[in-house]
Amino acid sequence: MKSIPFAGWHTPNDLEERLNRNVQYMLLGLGAAWLIMFTYVVLITLRERKLRKELDRVRRMVESASADR
């Protein structure tokens, strides 16, 4: 079985530096959560805009087709 290397080897020994790292990763975690949420909101907003445009286009197409007949 492949063992997972002990990450403690790579962590800084200095207590203050470790505490800073702790805060940095907390902010990274919260930032990642907001980034994912924000990205999704942007994506569904763009999708909504695209769907509205498409709906208008298809409506006009159907109206012009029925007017021609």
């Binding site: 990450a7 962590t11 702790n22 975690g29 569904i44 909504e48 498409e54 298809v58």
Partner: protein, 227 residues
Amino acid sequence: MREKIIIGLAIFAGGLLAWNMNTIFTALPDELNQGAIYRIIYFHVPANILGMLGFGLGMLLSIGYLVTKDLRYDALAASVTEVSLVFASIGLATGSIWARIIWGVWWAWDVRLTSWLVCWLIFGGYLMLRRAIDEPIQRARFAAVVSVLGSVNAYISYMSIKWWNTQHPQPVLTIRDGGGMAPGMEAPIYWNLLALACFSAILVMVRMRQESFAREIDTLRRMAHAQ
């Protein structure tokens, strides 16, 4: 009416989240063993709860579709599942960042993490499947089956920390017989859960509106081809 509900929910959820973030960052002390990083739990746990509940709700709606053949169930199932996948992504990302500090690794192949990743992949596949099939009835039927299978996996993931010894922590919330947190530290989890549940309700409503647009476009196209 729907717009007013969305705006009302957004104001409520935004206010609640702002107040709760203030509590989390200014009133609560660092956790004794973990330090500041423990605050990730305030997003990690609510996001995963909403992900699991959403997948379960999606399964019930999918069964509703299979029983009634009403495409509105399918549209709601797709909306709920997509939003739940976003919350599951937040859960996976925040958990991984927390693990890097506490466990020393970004990822461990233990039962909880692996089953939740598999669940995420299944529901990612669910959304890809929906895009790949144009015929609405066939799409709804296949998607419903995938949703049911994925939700069984979500339940296994939920129970995995009780059924097996995992590297992932055992339940800490009192509602799951955990009781591993001080009451003052536990309450903000529920407030964040409420705020994020309101956000997810907003997102589901927006997605439902898009589903109805897509249905209308489909119907108009069929009309245009029939003329």
